[in-house]
Amino acid sequence: MTDQPIIAIRDLHKSYGPAKVLRGCSLSIARGEVVVVCGPSGSGKSTLIKCINGLEGYQSGSILVDGIEVGAKGSDLPKLRARIGMVFQHFELYPHMSVLNNIALAQVHVLKRTRAVAHERARELLTRVGLQDKADTIPADLSGGQQQRVAIARALALDPQAILFDEPTSALDPEMIHEVLQVMTELASSGMTMVVVTHEMGFARSVADRIVFMDAGEIVEDSPSEEFFSVPKTPRATEFLSKILAH
C-alpha cells in the first residue's frame, strides 16, 4: 500500500481540437519524491500537471491519484483536489479577501473546519513562509514574491498529500525568485511530494529527486536528477540543457 505511487499517469493522450497536446505520457510519482518537469514552451508540461487534478480533461489513458481515477465519471473531484494542492504561475490569490481569508476559505468550506481553527492554521502557515505580519493585508498590497508565498501557504492549508507547481517563479521579478525557491526547498526537505514545472535548473539540480523532460507532448527523458544533468540520454535533452545552462 505504501509503496504504491501517489500519482500514476499511464499513456495519457490529450488534444485541443485537431492539435495533439499530450502524446502517450506515462509517469509515476512516489510519496515524498520531488519531481521537476521541464522542457521548451508548448511541450505540454502545464497541461500535464493540470490533468492530474482534473482542471484539464483528457481523451485517453489513465491518471490515478492516491488510487482514485481522475477521469472516471462520478469521481469526486473536489475531494481529490483537497488532497492535492496547486500553485499557479500568476499566484491567483483572491483579490477581494485578506491574506488570512485566502488561506482560510477552503479549510472552512471544503474541510469543514471552524473559522477559529482555520485562522489559527493560516497563521501557522504564514509564519512558515515568513509572512506572519501580513495576515490582514490584501493581495494587491503585496509584492509578487510575497503573493506566491501566500499561495503556497494556501495550498498547504488543506494538508495535501502532494503539491503541484505550475511555473511558480516564471511571473516573478528576478529579485523575488529566491524567496519563493527558498520556501519550496524547505517544503521539499520536510518530505512533501512535489511536482514542479519550472525553468529554474539550479533549483532542479539541488532539490529534485528526478527530472522529467518533455518535448512536443511527449516525455522524452525521465531520470534521476544527477544523471539528467551529467549524462542526458537523448539529443533533444542535451540541446535543451545546453541552451538553458548557457547563460
Binding site: 483572491y94 477581494h96 477552503a106 468550506h109 471544503v110 494556501r154 488543506l158
Partner: protein
Amino acid sequence: MNYHFDWTPIWAARGLIAEGLLLTIALSAASLALSTIIGLIVGGAATAHSRTVRACALFFTETMRNIPLLIHMYIWYMAFSFLRLPAFSCAVLGLSLYSGAYVAEVVRAGIGSVGRGQMQAALATGLTGLQAMRYIIYPQALRIIAPSLASLFSQLIKDSSLASVIAVGELTYQAGAIDGQTFRTFEVYITISLIYLVLVTAASQLVLLIPGSRSEAAAGRFADA
C-alpha cells in the same frame, strides 16, 4: 407664444403627484429586486459548462430583450388576463423579465472578465463549482459591473412610466390625470420630467453603496441599456 403660465394648480395637485411618485418607487424597487435575481441566475447560467444551459440562457436573454417592454406589459395584462393579476403585478413582471435580460448580459460580461485563473485556483483547493462561483467569482464580478447596474436601475425607473398604459397609477399616469383636470399641460409634464430626473440621479448614486465599487458609477447616471 400666447401661453399663460400657471403653476398653482400643479402645486394644488401635489397629493396626486405624491401618490404617483410612491407607486413609481414601489414599482421600480420591486422590479429591481426581481430583475436582479433573474439576471444573476441567467447571467451565471450563461457562463455554465453545459452547452444546453448556456443556450437556454442565450434564448432567454435574446427573447426578453428584443420584445418591446410595452408588449411585455400588454402580454401579462391582456394575453394572460385569465391569471387575473392586478395591473401592478403585470407591470412588475413585464419590467422584471425585460430588465432581467439586460442584467443577465451585464452579469455574464462581469463573470467573464474575472480571469480564468481565479476559477482554476478556487477549484484546485477543492471547492465545488458552485462554491467557487459564490465565494470567488460573483463577489469580484459584482464589483466590476456596479456602474452598469446603476445605469440599468436608472433605466428601470424611466421604463416604469409605461405602466401608466396598463392603468397603474404611477407618476406618468397621474400626470395625465392632472392634465385632464387642470389643462396645465406644459407645467405638468415639465414637472414630471424634473421629478424623474431627480429620481434617476438619486438611483445611480445608490450603487455606490456596494462595497468596492469605484466612482465610475458617477459616470453611468443614465442608462444605455
